[in-house]
């Protein structure tokens, strides 16, 4: 993240980071700067909710009840309202996730090309079940709907990185590459 981010894009860089700081203050330093820039781009504070939740998740790794309360405070919204909106969107993790959030597309395009085998392989190798985090805290594997790259099945997104044309046999190598 550049220190002097242009306000036009300050709110649009959803990022799932390997490193998570669940207790970090919202917001400080460059993040505070980004938060303030986001507010300048909308006629009211409510509209900043999605970008600010993204920002908070980038810092803390997930959207905890404390995060919800804090974001509500920052934007003059009730915690229940923030929770309602956050729970509408699948990208906000309302539970902590592993260091690597592995999203396997099982949309129709990928499913036609055996996406389920890829998903199974990830589950097998990380020894987890869908949505659950591995014991070492490293992996959370989830199945997601179409990621918008259907010509390249199976599409897998790990944190901020998109992998295209992933075959079941390549999963092991991909996992190795992460570390």
């Amino acid at each position: 993240m550049s220190d002097a981010m242009h306000p036009a894009i300050a709110g649009a860089q959803p990022s799932q980071r390997a490193e998570k700081r669940p207790e970090a203050p919202l917001f400080e330093g460059a993040y505070q700067d980004r938060f303030e820039k986001i507010l300048t781009r909308y006629p009211d504070k409510r509209a900043a909710l999605l970008p600010v939740l993204h920002l908070a998740q980038e810092v803390r790794g997930w959207v905890s009840p404390q995060t919800i309360r804090r974001v509500g405070e920052l934007l003059d919204l009730t915690p229940a309202y923030v929770r309602s909106v956050a729970s509408f969107y699948t990208m906000f993790n309302l539970r902590p996730v592993g260091k690597y959030l592995i999203q396997v597309c099982v949309g129709i395009g990928c499913d036609l090309c055996r996406a389920e085998e890829v998903a199974e392989k990830f589950l097998e190798l990380t020894r987890t079940r869908i949505g659950e985090t591995s014991e070492d805290g490293k992996y959370t594997v989830i199945e997601v709907e179409c990621l918008g790259a259907c010509a390249f099945p199976t599409v897998v997104q790990v944190n901020d990185k998109v992998y295209e044309n992933v075959k079941a046999e390549e999963v092991e190598g991909l996992l190795k590459e992460l570390d």
Binding site: G11, D111, E145, A149, A151
Partner: protein, 429 residues
């Protein structure tokens, strides 16, 4: 380098620079003739720009095919309220991935279109609502927006014209329904992306209660070419009712899946067999969904039509978003339909009873049939649930969920009956 495949029979207008790394940055884009259309537009009267787009016959590429120029002309011109433009980059319809490539390879083509459209509708602020999962695309787009600001294509007094525009990139957070234009507006306002009851339409009351135009990425990307070269230039392609070229995202069981740009009078069968190479070696084509998972499936022998809005409609489906999904004879139709229905179940915002409850009921029944626990009476039941879901809700997602079920039963009832009789799937997947 073409991306991922290029075919000599394509007509590359929008996708001319796909695969060309140098076209991404602003210098490369300007070298390739970029931002000339903007300069030209800013020298024209606002309504004259709208007129050209109207004359070109450009139709919205987000799915509904509404004429773009006509939509712009609904915007108030009195300047009493701030007008907004929202570029719909939420692209989440299964089988559709054209906007992604447009933004990835030619972000300035999209931005230029946004600036011209904003000028025409007298907007001072435009938003690009991009689906949050597009992390890498967002990065490219963000870079391009900053460049456009730095070069004075955005901000105050653009190219000395006196016209000013701010552009903000706004990332969604995982909700297909945020692609429906009023769901998008709610989402942009920091709300649940629940579609709104219409009327009022966005041009009357849109983002933040103000007049707003919502246009798809591809629609807007088509604008610079039209403004620069004129309506007739655009009409050299396609049909009277469907002028121009269009990107088709082709996926599924194809030898060369990818985006192909063809004029709208191109033959669908040739698109599938020539450009995409048809199904993999040794397989037969079973069916084609021509316009994203929300449109009816066509059988292999129904696709000898042109890809215009009216051509595909005559064949029994819709052009939709141009997301073509091909299925060969290894496909389990029940499974494929179940997957599509599960998608709608997952994405239903849940406001409307028929959609919220109907989608999950359909999915349950399909899963049961797939498991081999289907009953013959499930077929009429599925059709009747579909009838109770279609045309009865706030937005067409409910209809979309019923479409694959109803159309696949109409055309592939044997597949269902096979599952019911044989206690499960016998497809050689």
């Amino acid at each position: 380098m073409a991306y991922p495949y290029e075919h000599p029979r394509e007509t590359r207008v929008l996708s001319k620079y796909f695969g060309d790394e140098d076209a991404i940055g602003i210098d490369g884009w300007i070298e390739r003739g970029g931002y000339k259309a903007l300069a030209k537009a800013l020298g024209m009267a606002q309504d004259a720009v709208t007129e050209v787009v109207k004359d070109s016959g450009l139709r919205g590429r987000g799915g509904a095919g509404f004429p773009a120029g006509l939509k712009w002309s609904f915007m108030p011109k009195d300047g009493k309220l701030p007008n907004y433009l929202a570029c719909n980059a939420d692209e989440s319809e299964p089988g559709t991935f054209k906007d992604r490539e447009l933004m990835r390879w030619t972000p300035h083509q999209v931005i230029e279109g946004i600036i011209i459209a904003s000028y025409a509708i007298r907007a001072q602020h435009a938003y690009i609502y991009i689906r949050g999962e597009f992390v890498d695309i967002v990065r490219v787009l963000n870079g391009a927006v900053v460049e456009a600001y730095e070069r004075g294509y955005l901000g105050e007094n653009i190219l000395g014209s006196g016209y000013g525009l701010d552009l903000t990139v706004h990332a969604g957070a995982g909700a297909y329904i945020a692609g429906e234009e009023t769901g998008l507006l709610n989402s942009l306002e920091g709300r649940r992306a629940e579609p709104r009851v219409k009327p009022p339409f966005p041009a009357q009351r849109g983002a933040f209660g103000m007049p707003t135009t919502v246009n798809n990425v591809e629609t807007l990307a088509s604008v610079p070419g039209i403004v620069e070269n004129g309506a007739d230039w655009y009409r050299q392609w396609g049909t009277e009712k469907s002028p121009g070229t269009k990107l088709f995202s082709c996926c599924g069981h194809l030898q060369r899946p990818g985006n192909y740009e063809v004029p709208l009078d191109f033959n669908l069968k040739e698109l599938v067999y020539d450009l995409c190479g048809g199904p993999p070696e040794g397989r037969e084509l079973l069916g084609v969904i021509p316009g994203g998972s929300s449109v009816p499936i066509l059988t292999a022998d129904e696709i000898d039509c042109d890809v215009s809005y009216e051509g595909i409609e005559a064949a029994g489906s819709f052009l939709g978003s141009g997301g073509l999904i091909a299925m060969d004879d290894s496909t389990c139709m029940v499974r494929a339909v179940r997957r599509m229905v599960e998608f709608y179940d997952h994405e239903s915002c849940g406001q409307c009873t028929p959609c919220r409850e109907g989608t999950s009921w359909l999915a349950k029944i399909l899963r049961r049939i797939e498991r081999g626990e289907g009953r013959e009476e499930d077929i009429p039941l599925l059709l009747d649930i579909g009838a109770n879901m279609a045309g009865k809700t706030i937005c067409p997602l409910s209809d979309s969920a019923a479409v694959p079920v109803v159309s696949s039963i109409q055309k592939f009832e044997d597949e269902y009956m096979g599952h019911i009789r044989d206690g499960g799937c016998t497809a050689k997947r």
